[in-house]
């Protein structure tokens, strides 16, 4: 199955790297959309069919935690699989994001196989 993916990160370079690593990990994507912060992500989600969201946490305008809160209370978004990709590797933040409904958490820096493994685990668990 090929997935529609939304990558949310304020760094265009990091969005590009995640996209590239997705390809290298062998994960099949039908469409790869991008957003620079949580607000932009909500705009994309309102218009496009998305299966998986990769989100950073520290972003301007609306951070990843606020985005996760919005996703968690929106009935139309309950099918979304959210994978957090962040420099923040604290237990406190991970627990908070998972409690809000994130299905996986990858810390930066990472290598392609880490991302691929987290994705495979997340999609298998939620299938």
């Amino acid at each position: 199955m090929a997935y529609n993916v939304l990558i949310v990160d304020d760094s265009p370079g990091m969005r590009k790297v995640i996209k590239k690593m997705l390809g290298q990990s062998g994960f099949l994507t039908e469409q790869c959309l991008e957003a620079g912060d949580g607000l932009e992500a909500l705009t994309v989600l309102a218009k496009e069919r998305v299966d998986i969201v990769f989100t950073d946490i520290n972003m301007p305008n609306m951070n990843g935690e606020e985005l996760m809160e919005r996703i968690s209370v929106t009935p139309d978004y309950q099918h979304l699989l959210v994978l957090v990709v962040s420099t923040d590797r604290s237990e406190e933040r991970m627990q908070r994001m998972l409690a809000l409904g994130a299905k996986g958490y990858v810390t930066k820096p990472f290598v392609p196989r880490t991302l691929g493994y987290a994705l495979t685990k997340m999609t298998a668990r939620c299938a």
Binding site: S11, P12, G13, N58, S86, T87, D88, S90, E91, P109
Partner: protein, 152 residues
């Protein structure tokens, strides 16, 4: 928080990020005067809130920054633009700081500001107690520094 020797943590955070995301090997700290930061180096800086809060920054020579950007962005970016190069240095600042803070306190969620590009001549004055290091890599030098806020 217990007193921690931050210098080795900073060195290992730099090495971890450079190796995994930029494919660059760190060869340890250098201390020669000629290796000190120059005005044309590209600088990224951010603030972090937590216990303790503080400021973290990185500076790299333009040639090193361009190579880092090319490595980070991939084979189709052999000649990255100045904008891409600055963004990559800012992302490096973000990742090294996050890695370092996790080593200082793995339980606490620090809040990091968006990294900003510091233009030459607009650097904040150096505060006392700055922890700093210049590291040799196979692509050039990397300077990092950390200033912690005094805690009550």
């Amino acid at each position: 928080m217990q007193a921690i020797d931050l210098k080795p943590l900073m060195e290992s955070a730099v090495a971890e990020v450079l190796e995994s995301m930029y494919f660059i090997s760190s060869e340890g700290e250098v201390q020669d005067e000629e290796d000190s930061v120059r005005p044309d180096w590209i600088r990224g800086e951010l603030e972090f809130a937590g216990t303790p809060g503080g400021t973290f920054g990185i500076a790299v020579p333009p040639s090193t920054a361009a190579l880092m950007a090319a490595n980070f962005l991939g084979e189709d970016e052999i000649d990255p633009t100045d904008k891409q190069t600055v963004e990559v240095v800012c992302e490096l600042t973000n990742m090294v700081c996050g890695t370092l803070l996790a080593q200082i306190d793995s339980k606490q969620a620090f809040t990091l500001s968006t990294p900003r590009h510091v233009l030459p001549g607009t650097e904040s004055p150096m505060k006392s107690g700055r922890i700093e290091g210049t590291y040799a890599t196979d692509e050039g030098l990397v300077y990092t520094w950390l200033e912690l806020q005094a805690t009550a």
